[in-house]
């Protein structure tokens, strides 16, 4: 893969994280912020073996991570499907299931195009999308903090313990798997890049949780999608609404999150089977849609989801390293 740079890598991973946060369901509280922050530290520690190994090296590891991207892409498709209920999208609202299918189909179509141009082009676009999205989120954040309800910080209840929030953080961090493919492709020290990414992620998730709690903390018990609700409640102008600004950021981040998984999966498929490279993008998007349909009943915040992510980023490189050393021993023995 041609080299991308650290900024682009961070932008791609942060877009995926931000989209997962948009689709965050259930209550939020200060415990959530602490849990997500602790979870981020744990993830940073967990990916160190993967980074030391230089990402997915062997054919087997590449296959595992290819499947992982398809799995995570399917989960993101589901998230988009579920969350778009609460966001006004013209036609979808009036079109019923067909409208929903059309919207998802259009997103899949754009993802198909994204996966066809290669990860390098996607990384460049992601940097611009992340910068624009960050600007929009900043506007939403400022309008939320302009009239803060500090009492919400104590009122908000997530109904989960610290440990459960850490688990939830792990379950929604599928983006870290991207380090397996993208970190080795990034210029410079990949461990330093990863450290910058996790620092940015820490600021992003805690910032989003605290903003959501400040705005929607009072109604957290009846809020299904706290980040979406916070965006709908925080309006900077008295006589007009900016919900549509959030709709645009949501759409762009949804497309890029899924597109990045598709492009990464396509890249790995092309690596393992070079003859299939031409169709890898289309195949990965189709497989993601199929995975999304199969996983429609799977809860994002389930421990099984967290287990899949952690197994991929920790166990796979360790097993790969063990297999390498066993092979080396065998060679020495001969």
């Amino acid at each position: 893969m041609s080299k991308i740079n650290g900024r682009q890598l961070c932008a791609m991973l942060l877009i995926c994280d931000a989209f997962s946060m948009f689709c965050f369901t259930g209550g939020m509280s200060l415990v959530t912020a602490a849990g997500l922050a602790a979870g981020t530290f744990i993830q940073w520690a967990a990916v160190q073996p993967l980074l030391r190994r230089g990402g997915a090296v062997t054919k087997g590891e590449k296959l595992v991570f290819g499947a992982y991207f398809i799995y995570w892409g399917g989960v993101l498709f589901n998230l988009q499907w579920e969350t778009s209920r609460d966001i006004y999208i013209p036609y979808e609202s009036s079109g019923g299931i067909w409208g929903k299918l059309l919207i998802s189909g259009l997103i899949a179509l754009v993802c198909l195009y994204i996966s066809s141009v290669g990860i390098k082009a996607v990384s460049r676009a992601a940097l611009i999308a992340a910068a624009v999205g960050a600007g929009c989120l900043l506007i939403a954040g400022i309008s939320a903090v302009r009239s803060p309800h500090w009492e919400n910080l104590t009122l908000a209840e997530s109904g989960r313990s610290f440990g459960e929030e850490v688990l939830r953080s792990a379950a929604m961090s599928g983006a870290v798997g991207g380090l397996a493919v993208l970190a080795p492709a990034a210029k410079g020290d990949s461990r330093r890049t990863a450290a910058v990414y996790f620092a940015c992620k820490l600021v992003l998730v805690t910032g989003m949780v605290l903003t959501s709690v400040l705005v929607a903390g009072g109604i957290m018990s009846v809020t299904e999608l706290p980040v979406v609700t916070a965006a709908q409640l925080s309006q900077p102008f008295p006589v007009q609404r900016i919900d549509s600004l959030f709709l645009m950021v949501f759409t762009v981040y949804a497309v890029f999150s899924i597109g990045i998984q598709a492009a990464s999966a396509a890249y790995l498929i092309g690596e393992v089977w070079p003859s299939a490279e031409k169709y890898a993008g289309a195949a990965s998007v189709v497989l993601m849609i199929a995975a999304g349909a199969l996983l429609s009943k799977v809860q994002l915040y389930s421990s099984s989801n967290a287990a899949v992510i952690f197994a991929a980023v920790t166990a796979v490189p360790m097993l790969g390293a063990a297999a390498d050393s066993a092979k080396a021993r065998r060679v020495r023995g001969c």
Binding site: V110, V117, S244, V252, V255, F256
Partner: protein
């Protein structure tokens, strides 16, 4: 037709007549010089009659008697010096090429070669002000159709031995002269090698505009925006060459191709470097905004009015509702109709003879526009929005084709799916722009991949005091 000329003069003339099909513009002048039978060939209209008479005929016909044709040619070459450009012609391919390029060709009885004299004198358009790249404070001269004149315009501005101009010919029938220009101390060697390789792949019969060449030096992938640029200003081309880019001049075309082209360059003009930096920066941001307005304004207007009226404040909403209530067509139909009508008028304005251009403006502006609004067919706000978008597009003329198509595409997306549709299409367009790359130079540099050093001439326009130490070359952006 390689392998020397026919020695017998009559046979040689017969062969030339046969090859040219007895074309009327080939003039064959028989005479004797120094006691040797000679023929002077030239192409009518391509040579200067006065120059050929004064500098060729008069001296040649007064040559004293010589022992043979070899001595005659030696005498002409070494002692007469009839013109500065005097190639020796060894084959008929070269003979015809030079003949049709305005050279006079001297054949002599018994000689297997001929002498060419550069006495070109064809009429061509004089150097004039560029029509599409106007500026206020810079030079007012553009390239002309004659490649030699364009080359001299470059040389006048760059009196450096580092400036190299390599001539080549392309087009099996047209034999069009191309000139690759570059600064040999600045251009990346790999870029130059790959451009030459791309040009070697041209198998066209004719090369009549830069558009014939550009597809061969651009990526094969579908790109909305062109990764090569054109300029009709020698000063602009010089500035690009100094940055390590490659220019290609095409004979008969008053434009040069610049490789590689970056997206941000579409917003830079020579005037930016004449004004104070703060004003140049302001103008540059106006152009960025104009680009976005040109592409997105009709689409966003349609999307907001049709699907997201909550984005408007109540006063504005009432005004729009009132004006749209009286219009018989849907907003999207209205917008598409107005934009299509504009494109029709624009095309008519370009193709019509100039004296009729004024009539088109009057008919389109006063009669169609005014009548359409007064009759209630089109609402005034929509017409205002469309006019603003169209005017904004004119701020970045080089981007006009993609901007026009994107305006329609975004309008359809915004009308059908609101801001969701616009966002979705924006993702696709953004990825397409970011995938645009030529010879390893990303079109979106220095924005993405981000290069902070490049922001001095992108986000702002730094002063020359700062820029003079930078010694920027485009190789900085190579990936």
């Amino acid at each position: 037709m390689k392998g020397g000329l026919i020695r017998r003069l009559d046979d040689s003339i017969d062969f030339i007549k046969q090859k040219t099909g007895g074309s009327s513009d080939i003039l064959i002048n028989r005479f004797a010089a120094g006691g040797v039978h000679c023929v002077l060939l030239c192409c009518e209209g391509m040579v200067s009659a006065s120059v050929i008479t004064e500098l060729v005929f008069e001296p040649i016909t007064s040559i004293p008697a010589k022992k043979g044709p070899h001595e005659l040619f030696h005498y002409i070459q070494e002692e007469l010096l009839l013109s500065t450009d005097r190639p020796v012609i060894e084959d008929y391919d070269t003979l015809f090429r030079l003949l049709y390029s305005g050279f006079a060709v001297l054949l002599a009885e018994g000689m297997p070669s001929a002498l060419g004299f550069g006495v070109q004198g064809y009429s061509s358009r004089s150097i004039q002000e560029p029509s599409g790249e106007g500026n206020v404070m810079g030079a007012h001269e553009g390239f002309s159709e004659t490649i030699r004149t364009s080359m001299s315009q470059l040389r006048r501005r760059m009196k450096s031995p580092e400036l190299v101009m390599d001539m080549m010919q392309k087009g099996e029938k047209s034999c069009t002269d191309l000139c690759i220009c570059y600064m040999k101390d600045r251009v990346p060697a790999e870029l130059l090698r790959r451009i030459r390789k791309s040009l070697d792949g041209i198998r066209l019969e004719s090369v009549l505009t830069t558009g014939y060449i550009r597809p061969f030096v651009e990526s094969r992938r579908f790109e909305l925006f062109s990764s090569t640029g054109t300029t009709e200003r020698p000063d602009v081309l010089c500035s690009k060459l100094i940055e390590g880019r490659v220019g290609i001049l095409v004979d008969g075309v008053p434009f040069a191709i610049v490789i590689p082209r970056l997206f941000c360059e579409n917003f830079q003009t020579l005037d930016d470097y004449s004004y104070k930096p703060y004003y140049a920066t302001f103008i540059r941001w106006i152009k960025y905004a104009a680009f976005l307005i040109a592409v997105l304004l009709p689409a966003v207007y349609t999307a907001i009015v049709m699907h997201h009226p909550e984005l408007l404040n109540s006063t504005l909403l009432m005004i729009l509702v009132e004006s749209e209530r009286q219009a018989p067509l849907s907003i999207m139909t209205e917008a598409l109709g107005v934009l299509l009508m504009y494109e029709v008028i624009r095309e008519a304005g370009i193709r019509l003879p100039k004296p009729m251009g004024g009539s088109v403006s009057i008919v389109s502006g006063l009669i169609i526009g005014d009548a359409a609004v007064k009759s209630g067919l089109i609402s005034t706000p929509l017409l205002t929005v469309t006019a603003l978008a169209v005017m904004s597009g004119l701020c970045v003329p080089e981007l006009n084709p993609p901007v026009t198509m994107l305006r329609f595409a975004f309008l359809a997306a915004g009308g059908a799916l609101g801001l969701f549709g616009i966002s979705l299409l924006a993702c696709g367009v953004l990825v397409n722009i970011c995938a645009t790359e030529d010879y390893g130079f990303p079109y979106t540099a220095p924005l993405s991949p981000f290069a902070g050093s490049g922001m001095g001439d992108t986000a702002v326009r730094s002063s020359f005091r700062k820029m003079q130490d930078r010694e920027f070359t485009v190789e900085e952006y190579h990936e």
